[in-house]
């Protein structure tokens, strides 16, 4: 039988039951490969549930450094009978299906184009351990040990890692190493090791780190000087505030008094959370909230107030699959339109699209500078894939000379000197006006913040001309904003291509890989990663320079494409959609397939042909 042969390049999927402690064992496996110098990309595909339902953990290993999802599975490690029938179907021909053969495999599931490897995990556990919880937990560690033998991993890296992970809980080190050895020993004695897929130590990791985007965002908020965090628990954003709190407890306790240089308020709902952020920012503190799509819907009214009254507001949106409750533990980029135009009336909101943990950190900290400089909401658009999975990333860095940009704030001294103050008076010509913090001066500079129309001095007015003038100034401010938000990253393929791809956020890695596949086939495309909305001039120029642009995104309705068409008044022919919205991260093979379908002259294909359910692998 054919078997897949590869070195340092494969996809493995663990099929587990959630709540059984599999996540930490699977993490151990991925981290060990990372420590062997191999680029890894682990992705947790988990249910909205605490215990008992199927959960998967996919690890991509790629010496070439592809960190997106490739598509397809070379090895499935199955310890969940509930999902076994589907899991075995997912193995690529020639791939490997490793399962717990304590109970014989249902012969109806058997495939003769897949290598079947049995390990009696339950039997080994039952012989070794009395306690049912231990039997369950160590089963996971045992299969990691067996994999180490099957893939020819450096066993010492694993044992060192266990020692690192249980630092301070030394009692747990030996039992875990013992479990690893049990699996390793079994495989070496009873199975053919290694299988056709194997790994060997490499040097492709460099100084990179393995970090989830949400932790990076929490750190970005610490470094960006946020002192007030208001939030309401919602997957997949909760760990942003968890991380902020974890680091705040470390670095934000006043050494003299022991008191906290931060305040975290768990609000009663998302409306309240954003209200608190607006109140704190209005009063001169740096504040943020983190939420997901449903939260953004609830926050919309307040986002309109912050836009219109021009109050700095920082919102981290970790997107998940909608609409409604949708698939709350699956990923999507489907809040682009609801965030970009959040709230009633004419509103436009600033969006940032990070694509790596490093960028989550950088943009997270930058959000506070932008919010105060531009006096408007900054909505950072990450997603579950980036936020909750460990991603290989450039290390985080901070320039110790960096000062916060607190924007245009008039001081008591300026007011005392008689500098004219009008809260909505554009004195500098950039459409950004001066504000004052409450409590600045006994009788100068106070003003009334409101969501109703007002004149340049913040006095209530219903005069149409005043209202219109203000709304036009906000449009001019929109132009100013383009100069401040991060510009796109452009990759020129060097072949004078008239076709290009455009992507953002977590679609980057798979897109890059897909472009390499296409180049191998002689199809060359330029590429641009959009990093913010409003779109900078370079985005417009790039689109102008190409005859056709594929917009790659992870939602059904081609939301960024819609935004581009609306903002640049483009016709529907110029931009073509490449989409994935099944809740799993978009894969390189899927992108290649969709682009090729478009390029094969099949341009009359209706859009839905590409987005038929099940056609997104």
């Amino acid at each position: 039988m054919k078997r897949i042969e590869s070195l340092n390049d494969f996809v493995i999927k663990f099929a587990n039951v959630n709540g059984t402690g599999s996540a930490s064992a699977n993490n151990l496996f991925a981290k060990a490969l990372f420590r062997m110098g191999l680029p890894v990309c682990p992705k947790n595909i988990f249910p909205s549930n605490i215990q008992g339902l199927p959960t998967w953990y996919e690890v991509r290993v790629s010496e070439k450094g592809y960190l997106g999802r490739r598509g397809g599975t070379d090895i499935v490690l199955s310890v969940n009978p509930q999902s076994m029938a589907q899991d075995i179907q997912d193995v690529e021909p020639g791939g490997y299906f490793i399962y717990d053969n304590t109970k014989p495999l249902d012969l109806r599931l058997l495939r003769n184009d897949v290598n079947i490897i049995g390990i009696p995990l339950t039997l080994i556990c039952n012989e070794q351990y009395k306690d049912p919880r231990q039997r369950q937990l160590f089963k996971n560690v045992i299969y990691v040990g067996a994999l180490a033998a099957l893939l020819d991993m450096d066993f010492k890296v694993l044992t060192d890692l266990v020692e690192d992970q249980f630092k301070g809980k030394e009692k747990l080190v030996l039992p875990n190493i013992h479990a690893l050895e049990l699996g390793h020993q079994y495989a070496r004695t009873n199975l053919e090791c290694p299988i056709g897929i194997r790994v060997q130590t490499s040097d492709k990791v460099g100084d990179k780190i393995l970090l989830d985007g949400n932790t990076a965002l929490g750190l970005g908020a610490i470094y960006g000087g946020a002192t007030v965090a208001a939030w309401y628990p919602i997957t997949p954003s909760t760990s942003v505030v968890d991380a902020y709190e974890k680091y705040a407890r470390r670095v934000r306790i006043d050494p003299g008094t022991g008191r906290r240089n931060y305040a975290i308020v768990q609000a009663e709902d998302e409306l309240s959370a954003i209200g608190m952020v607006i109140g704190a920012s209005w009063n001169g503190a740096r504040a943020f909230t983190a939420t997901s799509g449903p939260g953004v819907s609830l926050m919309s009214e307040f986002l309109g107030l912050a836009y219109f009254a021009e109050i700095p507001t920082v919102l981290f949106n970790v997107q998940r699959a909608g609409p409604s409750t949708g698939m709350p533990t699956r990923t999507q980029q489907s809040d682009v339109l609801s965030a970009a135009y959040a709230s009633h009336g004419d509103t436009k909101q600033v969006l940032l699209f990070p694509s790596t943990p490093k960028e989550c950190f950088d943009f997270g900290a930058l959000s506070f500078d932008l919010a105060e400089r531009l006096q408007t909401p900054i909505i950072l658009m990450t997603d579950l894939d980036l936020g909750m999975n460990d991603n290989m990333s450039e290390p985080l860095a901070w320039d110790d000379d960096r000062a916060f940009d607190r924007g245009k704030v008039m001081t008591a001294e300026q007011l005392e000197e008689g500098v004219e103050f009008g809260r909505y008076l554009d004195v500098d010509g950039d459409a950004i006006c001066y504000r004052t913090y409450p409590g600045t001066h006994p009788n100068k500079g106070a003003f009334f913040t409101r969501g109703t129309s007002r004149d340049e001095y913040a006095i209530y007015t219903e005069r149409g001309e005043e209202y219109e003038k203000n709304m036009l100034r906000l449009m001019r401010k929109w132009e100013t904003i383009k100069e401040y938000v991060p510009g796109p990253e452009i990759v020129d393929c060097g072949k004078n291509a008239d076709t290009a791809v455009l992507y953002y956020g977590t679609s980057e890695e798979s897109s890059r890989e897909a472009l390499d596949y296409l180049a191998e086939e002689g199809v060359y495309l330029d590429a641009m990663r959009v990093r913010s909305f409003p779109f900078n001039q370079e985005v417009e120029d790039f689109i102008d320079q190409h005859k056709q642009v594929f917009v790659i995104e992870q939602n059904r309705d081609a939301q960024l494409r819609t935004l581009l068409m609306a903002e640049f008044e483009l016709g529907p022919d110029k931009l073509k959609s490449v989409l994935c919205f099944d809740g799993t991260p978009i894969s390189a093979r899927n992108i290649r397939k969709q682009i090729k379908q478009h390029l094969s002259g099949n341009n009359v294909t209706p859009l839905h042909r590409n987005i038929v359910a099940g056609d997104t692998k």
Partner: protein, 350 residues
């Protein structure tokens, strides 16, 4: 429309300890209906702030949406104001108070803004014991949309059109008590003698202070049959007692009848004196306050005055152990841990 009140004032207007006259605490001319109870409350706020000698710019006044929430324009013109979103004033105040603990936060709301659309935020701000004064200008109806019943309208109370309200009324004082408010009072816009000292006491209280002020709507809810009309409230109000606020530097000269008065020292050293009229009520006991409220509800009278006060209140800053220095005064050096720490974090992630 907002007009500035003419600056011309009598030269002998009394000044407070800071040298400010009452005019320094006023705002624009009100655009509410003539005779609106809310204007009397604005007047009481001006008087209380002047008498307390608070620097006008050290107060932040925030509101939601509605007639009541427009009123902050009509007082404290030298204070920053924030007319936020319907029912959401409490969250905005919470954020503001977290940012700067050194200002006084005065929230103004109405019965629609608090008891309907803002019920959740009202309950939770009380529960968090945020250090603020929360004044409800309670007229039992929606004035700006022409007189629909609100959730505080009493069952059976007739609107201007003559229809009796069929739903049970939400008692904001009872709700606040239940939610953990540490200062609960009710008053009447027509009784400045009671209202001004209550506002002063509320402003000195550390924690969440609710004053539910019955404030008749002269245009839509002042008709016979309404239980929020001037006439009805005057006839049915029963005070728990009177309150006298004594600043910390003033000598106390009045004699109090033993057994019927309490002196309470506030956290800033000032004190309030309570003259009890209602012998049943122990205003420092939440159970007693709840029973007394319920007794008055049953008898159809309106209990006014100080209903409950927790003398050992710990506000949200106490609970969160936030720095004494306002968070909005912290700078890069206080907030940003620097690159060295990031290098350590990076090392732990390899």
């Amino acid at each position: 429309m907002s007009y500035q009140i003419p600056k011309f004032r009598h030269p002998d207007l009394p000044v407070n300890d800071l040298g400010y006259t009452k005019a320094d605490y006023e705002g624009s001319i009100s655009s509410l209906c003539a005779g609106c109870g809310h204007d009397s409350i604005s007047g009481a706020i001006v008087m209380a702030c002047h008498e307390l000698s608070i620097e006008p710019h050290k107060i932040a006044k925030l509101s939601g949406i509605g007639c009541s929430s427009k009123s902050p324009t009509y007082f404290l013109g030298n204070s920053h104001g924030f007319n936020s979103v319907h029912g959401r004033m409490p969250s905005v105040v919470t954020g503001a108070a977290m940012a700067n603990r050194n200002l006084m936060y005065l929230g103004v709301s109405g019965d629609g803004d608090t008891a309907s659309i803002g019920m959740g935020q009202f309950a939770h701000v009380a529960r968090r014991n945020l250090n603020m004064v929360y004044i409800v200008m309670n007229n039992g109806c929606y004035g700006l949309t022409k007189g629909q019943d609100s959730a505080t309208a009493d069952e059976g109370s007739a609107s201007k059109k003559g229809d009796a309200n069929v739903y049970s009324a939400i008692d904001l004082c009872g709700t606040a008590l239940q939610m953990g408010a540490t200062f609960v009072a009710r008053s009447f816009s027509g009784d400045k003698g009671q209202l001004v000292p209550l506002i002063k006491a509320a402003m000195t209280h550390r924690g969440f202070a609710l004053i539910d002020v019955i404030s008749p709507c002269v245009t839509f809810n002042n008709n016979p049959g309404s239980t929020k009309s001037y006439e009805f409230v005057r006839e049915h109000a029963e005070a728990t007692g009177t309150v006298d606020f004594v600043p910390m530097r003033k000598e106390i000269t009045t004699d109090y009848k033993p057994g019927f008065s309490h002196e309470v020292t506030m956290h800033d050293g000032s004190s309030i004196h309570l003259y009890k009229v209602d012998e049943e009520l122990d205003p420092f006991n939440r159970r007693s306050a709840m029973i007394t409220l319920e007794d008055h509800r049953e008898s159809g009278s309106i209990l006014t005055g100080l209903i409950y006060m927790d003398r050992d209140s710990r506000d949200l800053h106490d609970v969160l152990e936030t720095s004494q220095r306002p968070l909005n005064e912290l700078r890069e050096g206080d907030l940003c841990p620097g690159n060295k720490m990031l290098e350590n974090i990076n090392a732990s992630l390899r």
